[in-house]
Amino acid sequence: MAVPIQQKSTGARALQAWFNPLKRSAGFLAFVLMRVTGIGLVIYLLLHMVVIGNLLRGPEGWDALVATMKSPAVLVLDVILIAGILIHMLNGIRVTIIGLGFGTSSHKGIFWTLMAVAALLLAYSGWLVFTK
């Protein structure tokens, strides 16, 4: 009789780890942000492609749509979108740099610096969205 070894499925719990940066360090938070924003942006891309299809409906259809896009609720969504883009973009710079083996020893510093840049750009964009 060999020592019985049974495999216990940890699938769901393991998957949850993708989105849970608690008790983890900066790099893991970056990973979670990258994954969440990445998934969000893909969904947005597909929606966006459908929405701009409205251009085929000519000026009436499009301009009416543009008008509804200026409600405050949509503007908030815009800011969330911009946040997602900025986080994903700047984090992507980090992943590219350290992913090629450069600056690995200061990866946490790079992350927080880029996130600070993201915050500044987001503040500026938010101001643009709500004032213009």
Partner: protein
Amino acid sequence: MRTASIEEKRRSGVWVWQAITGVLLVILLSLHMIVHHFVVEGGLRTYQQVLDYVGNPLVVAVEILFLVTVTYHAMLGVRAILFDLNLSESQKALVTRVLTVLGVVVVAWGVFLALALFRAANA
């Protein structure tokens, strides 16, 4: 445990393409955001403003480049996430095929849209 031998596993360097398209997107997406939203009064182009803009063949070329890049990057990203799951080699092949089809559809639709607007602008 799944036991795909190393010989079976395809050599892979798509991560590098993900990085290259990523860097391109930093430029193209920034450009896209600026010309379509930030420099535009009110944040969104009206129909006429859109036509004025895409009438330029260079703009159409850049928009199509952006579309191809962003779609490729997005599909590779989804593939990377799905490959983090415990997929068999045949499941991986299926994922790649489905995402390729989806990517081609998105690009085709986008190109069709761009050309339609280009024609409308120059009619």
